[in-house]
């Protein structure tokens, strides 16, 4: 299988399929797993626990190091997302306790975290749905919402009149919404 086809197959693989490939020693699958969960792990560290960038980086690397070491212990491959979330939570709490907020009340540390995680879980589902979008939609939505590019910048980058960008974004959002509504059909390959 050619490289592009292979990477596309990995990017559309289910979480469980990806975990199985990682366990078989597939380095490309591991990279895809890191990319798939990188935003999620970072968001938990920075948004739910408000870690500094330096602490967030340490937690980020530790999460993936432990995930790599313990992937074989995962009882249910489909549960990799909550498993990574739980691991990230634990490491964030350890980091806070080890730092200046050592005496922080555990309940205070967790205050509001569940709400943040619910929101991040929802955001991760939208991110996963993005993978099923055509390349042009994924690109334009990514540029507008995640990279905060203006219509003019997007138009120049994609060679499109800037006046058409808003309608294209709207059409792509509609496709994404339709896909989310039929979420069970996402990720057909494993």
């Amino acid at each position: 299988m050619e490289f592009h086809q292979r990477m596309t197959a990995l990017s559309t693989a289910t979480d469980a399929g990806l975990v199985a490939r990682c366990r078989d020693g597939d380095d490309d699958a591991w990279e895809e797993l890191v990319r798939r969960f990188s935003r999620y792990v970072l968001a938990i560290a920075q948004q739910a626990y408000r870690l500094s960038p330096a602490d967030a980086e340490d937690v980020f690397q530790e999460v993936f190091a432990r995930t790599y070491e313990r992937l074989g212990d995962l009882r249910n491959d489909e549960a990799v997302r909550p498993w990574i979330a739980q691991l990230t939570r634990r490491l964030c709490i350890d980091r806070i306790r080890a730092g200046s907020r050592e005496s922080a009340d555990p309940e205070a540390l967790e205050a509001g975290v569940d709400d943040s995680l619910d929101r991040l879980d929802e955001a991760l589902s939208v991110q996963e749905a993005m993978l099923a979008m055509p390349d042009n939609c994924r690109d334009i939505l990514d540029r507008f919402f995640r990279r905060d590019e203006s219509y003019a910048v997007i138009g120049t980058a994609l060679g499109l009149p800037s006046g058409t960008i808003a309608s294209r974004i709207s059409r792509c959002l509609g496709k994404l919404r339709d896909h989310l509504e039929g979420r069970e059909h996402a990720r057909p390959t494993s």
């Binding site: 990279e31 890191v34 990319r35 935003r39 980086e57 690397q61 993936f64 994404l176």
Partner: protein, 88 residues
């Protein structure tokens, strides 16, 4: 009975846009470091195997852990130096 908020708003386009913005991209350098873990761990295991077989190599490696990692093509970090020290 009122409709729960998420049932009519879950897939609202504005909300989807908001959710797309929620998770910022992790710095590419962080992602690459994590993505290279399998290769990094293999390099460390090779160093450890050589050190097990050769006492001189082991002591030289222990004297310069960072150099050993760099020679193996690994991007050195304090965590990896510690990991190699533990393996030796």
């Amino acid at each position: 009975m009122p409709v729960p908020r998420h049932e009519f708003e879950m897939y609202d386009e504005e909300r989807i846009g908001e959710l797309l913005r929620v998770m910022p991209q992790a710095p590419e350098a962080w992602v690459l470091t994590a993505a290279r873990l399998p290769a990094t761990r293999r390099a460390i295991e090779q160093i450890a195997a050589l050190a097990e077989a050769d006492a001189t190599f082991r002591s030289q490696t222990l004297e310069d852990l960072e150099g050993a990692l760099a020679r193996a093509g690994v991007e050195v970090s304090p965590a990896l130096v510690e990991h190699l020290r533990d393996r030796l």
